[in-house]
């Protein structure tokens, strides 16, 4: 008998705008000792399906219209709230995307770990503590004794996710639901967490549901894959089958969206547009502390028309390099020469003119657009500021930009919140290109987006960079994306360049240990090789 068997589950959201069928008759089963991955983009209903079974969606607006979810033969949908509470956290546990928001910042890790134990199993405090320490050890927290009294903010993202996993496992659940548990993490940390989940699953012989938007992430660990689109299961089955013999066009689209291959490096003469020399950007920490050396003695050139990839994990200083070149942070020492001028010394009007020649595309399109400005206002601002259009012609300029980035013209009066992530990123790209810059820093422009949208935005950026003749610094933690897009790649570690070369050089002949480690962390390596 399957551990969990879902039959024809239907869930709707009832709002003023009408009824929206979020989960439309899906069926699947989860076996003990196997990892079942549910894949789909935002809004496909993958999370709603799992949450609704456990009574975790607010009702109303949510409404379960029908179906059954048999957990060990008992229908979860027929249970009372009290019965569900017994099941949640004891038999079924969950881990979430953002471990920071899921941990109480005012409670020590130890207390939070002991809480479910004291609630669900009637054990003494002493026993609970020992159990919690064992688990912290098991999920790979070094020196659990001394971290037991620490607060969540004292842990890194990866460590917090480990704590979350320990918390989920503490009552020895039979089913673990992991909702995008690695999406907020760096590639190297992601690889570690994925391995941890796979190991724990084997060791404890439990069932796992792994929810993700990214097929590549689950490639190495999933036994079964279910692909969802618009509330329906479009394809499901053995993971080998999905990766090698996918039949449904949507599954194929998802597979195609995994960035693969290497860009052929630019040929012909190379003239540097930007020369970065001995760049240091340090952040002061107050009088008696050592400054944080975010960027430390970095030198490189970016040639005209080239896409230079900058790769590294969080804290490697890759974003700070981009921001230093654009003068968004204060440069401690060194020089950045742009087309013959040292931009680190520019002031006033010179700086303003120079700004129109280099622009930035930000990571989070939800934060990088002013929520109170319409698409029109956002795009018109740079056009008017730099005198590219005047008040009379600005409307046509804005519409031209919208055409270029593939936004329908009738969106012109809408505000950012009315758009999806991908559409917002298009607006942000339009704003960056408004001044016809020669150079663009793209800071993780796709890492906040779903894979299929990622592919679209990357295509758009490639097309536009040809059309506009752009030189680009492409910052990302995702090696596969960078390889797909960049002519040359710089690998950054703790503020310093450790290795550089073409995509093929790095992937096939990595010289440094750190580069090798990065390469091994790429999810689903087999798929992109």
């Amino acid at each position: 008998m399957a551990l969990l068997e879902v039959n024809n589950l239907q869930v709707s959201f009832v709002t003023r705008m009408g009824t929206n069928r979020a989960v439309d008759g899906i069926s699947f089963s989860v076996e003990t000792g196997k990892i079942t991955a549910i894949i789909g983009e935002s809004g496909s209903g993958k999370s709603v399906a799992c949450y609704s079974m456990l009574g975790l969606i607010p009702q109303p607006p949510g409404r379960i219209d029908g179906g059954e979810a048999l957990f060990e033969g008992r229908d979860l949908l027929q249970m009372s709230e009290a019965q569900l509470r017994e099941i949640r956290g004891r038999d079924v546990a969950m881990i979430f995307q953002d471990p920071m928001t899921c941990l109480n910042p005012y409670m020590t890790i130890g207390k939070q770990l002991m809480e479910p134990l004291l609630y669900h199993k009637h054990v003494s405090k002493e026993q609970a503590k020992n159990r919690a320490l064992e688990l912290l050890e098991e999920v790979g927290i070094r020196d659990p004794e001394s971290t037991f009294e620490n607060f969540p903010h004292q842990f890194s993202g990866g460590m917090r996710q480990r704590v979350m996993i320990a918390m989920a496992l503490i009552n020895e659940p039979k089913l673990l639901i992991a909702d995008e548990p690695t999406t907020a993490l760096d590639v190297t940390i992601q690889a570690q967490i994925l391995k941890l989940i796979a190991d724990l699953q084997t060791k404890r012989d439990i069932g796992v549901i792994f929810i993700s938007h990214d097929l590549a992430v689950v490639a190495d660990i999933a036994d079964q894959i279910i692909v969802m689109q618009q509330g329906k299961v479009v394809e499901g089955g053995d993971s080998q089958h999905i990766f090698h013999n996918a039949e449904h066009p949507y599954t194929r689209k998802l597979l195609a969206a995994i960035p693969a291959g290497s860009k052929t490096p630019m040929a012909g003469e190379t003239r540097p547009l930007i020369q970065v020399r001995e760049l240091c950007t340090w952040f002061e920490q107050g009088r008696h502390k050592e400054p944080v050396k975010a960027v430390n003695d970095v030198s490189f050139d970016i040639n005209r028309g080239e896409v230079l990839g900058l790769v590294g994990e969080s804290g490697s200083g890759k974003s700070t390099i981009g921001r230093s070149i654009l003068r968004l942070v204060h440069v401690t020492s060194g020089s950045v020469t742009f087309d013959g001028t040292d931009v680190t010394r520019l002031e006033g009007g010179d700086l303003k003119n120079f700004r129109s020649r280099m622009q930035m595309i930000f990571q989070d399109p939800f934060a990088s657009l002013n929520p109170r400005m319409t698409v029109f206002d956002t795009l018109a601002e740079p056009l008017l500021l730099h005198g590219i259009e005047n008040r009379k012609t600005v409307a046509s300029g804005v519409l031209k930009l919208m055409d270029d980035v593939g936004l329908a013209r009738n969106f012109v009066r809408k505000y950012p919140h009315e758009f999806s992530g991908g559409q917002r990123q298009r607006i942000a790209i339009g704003r960056a290109l408004a001044t016809h810059p020669e150079f663009v820093v793209a800071d993780e422009p796709v890492s906040a987006l779903d894979v299929t949208i990622q592919a679209q935005i990357l295509d758009l950026m490639q097309g536009l960079s040809r059309e506009y003749g752009l030189t680009m610094l492409f910052v990302s933690h995702d090696l596969a994306v960078v390889r797909h897009l960049a002519d040359r790649i710089l690998v950054l570690y703790k503020g310093e360049v450790v290795e550089q070369g073409t995509g093929d050089d790095l992937f096939e002949r990595p010289q440094q240990e750190y580069t090798r480690q990065l390469l091994q962390s790429i999810p689903g390596r087999a798929l992109i090789a």
Binding site: R323, L326, L328, L351, K352, N353, R355, S356, M358, Q359, M360, F362, Q363, D364, A367, S368, L369, N370, P371, R372, M373, T374, F376, D377, E381, P382, L385, H386, R391, V394, A395, V398, L399, A408, R409, N410, V412, R413, Y415, H417, E418, A428, R431, T435
Partner: protein
């Protein structure tokens, strides 16, 4: 569809879409509209009072004394036989002026001070906010008494003095809002576009910080009106025969058992103003929050 839109964005879009859209949304909010119209009506009456008031506010009629509302005196008379409607109309001139002028002073100084401190940060911020702290620490009454002693009693000075006290909180609210917003990437994007700091503050920061400011403003106006009454009561504000709502209410409160109408009617005038302000303020806040409604 597409062609229709292209011709559509030439005129109206040139201005700030935010305020245009906010107005469209505000127009649909009946309560806010009611509040706005009531306030405008009160202001018009206040301006026209010298010509439309039924009686003179100074003329006493001691024989008449306090009478309840009648055909000759719609809202009755006070203990000196003065017409209450006339007094409320004249009182409204002072109260509304104090409320709006002092609050405007507070708004202008507070928003600019707080926005600059929050945006620039560092030592400038520290210096600017310590200055605010010093003013906070000054005993407010001594400050006003000093002003009155040095410059003589003067209504305009009263407005300024009240405004000079009320802006402190406004500056603090604004600063904390701007500090949060400054971290957002859209501000970085604005910097990298080459916008000068003044434009960034004006166009990107202030509109996003208005919600709490509007709410606080609707609270400030009534508190300013009551502050004026308090000062006048102490003899620092306006003096009889001039009057204000605050003064009328405090006198009315003394005789409320014998002559309740002397408290009820001025109280009603003030209450109606406050309701209108709150409705308008809530409406404005919602209208400026583009995320709230989708039409």
């Amino acid at each position: 569809m597409t062609t229709e839109v292209i011709t559509d964005i030439t005129e109206a879009e040139q201005g700030s879409s935010l305020w245009h859209d906010a107005w469209l949304r505000l127009r649909k909010n009946k309560l806010a509209l009611f509040g706005g119209i009531t306030l405008i009506l009160f202001v018009i009456i206040a301006i026209l009072t010298p010509w439309i008031a039924p009686y003179s506010y100074e003329t006493q009629n001691l024989d008449l004394g306090a009478t309840p509302p009648s055909a000759a005196h719609w809202l009755g008379t006070d203990i000196f036989g003065r017409d209450l409607l006339t007094q409320i109309m004249y009182g409204g001139r002072i109260s509304l002026a104090v409320g709006f002028v002092a609050t405007s002073v507070a708004l202008i100084i507070g928003i600019s001070w707080g926005a600059v401190a929050g945006y620039v940060g560092g030592r400038v911020d520290a210096a600017m906010m310590r200055f605010v702290d010093i003013l906070y620490a000054l005993p407010f009454m001594i400050f006003i008494v000093l002003l009155m002693v040095v410059f003589g009693r003067n209504i305009l000075l009263l407005f300024l003095a009240i405004g000079a006290v009320e802006w402190l909180t406004m500056a603090r609210i604004m600063r904390s809002q701007v500090q949060q917003l400054r971290q957002q990437e859209f501000v970085e994007a604005a910097i990298s576009l080459g916008l000068p700091p003044s434009t960034i503050i004006r166009r990107h920061l202030i509109p996003n910080a208005l919600g709490p400011i509007i709410v606080y403003t609707t609270l400030t106006i009534p508190s300013v009106m009551l502050l004026e009454a308090f000062l006048s009561f102490l003899g620092l504000g306006i003096q009889p025969p001039q009057t204000s709502w605050g003064l009328l209410i405090s006198y009315g409160a003394e005789t409320m058992e014998e002559f309740p109408w002397l408290l009820i009617f001025p109280g009603l005038a003030l209450t109606l103003t406050l309701f209108s302000l709150n409705f308008l303020g809530d409406g404005l806040r919602d209208a400026l929050d583009v995320r709230r409604s989708k039409d």
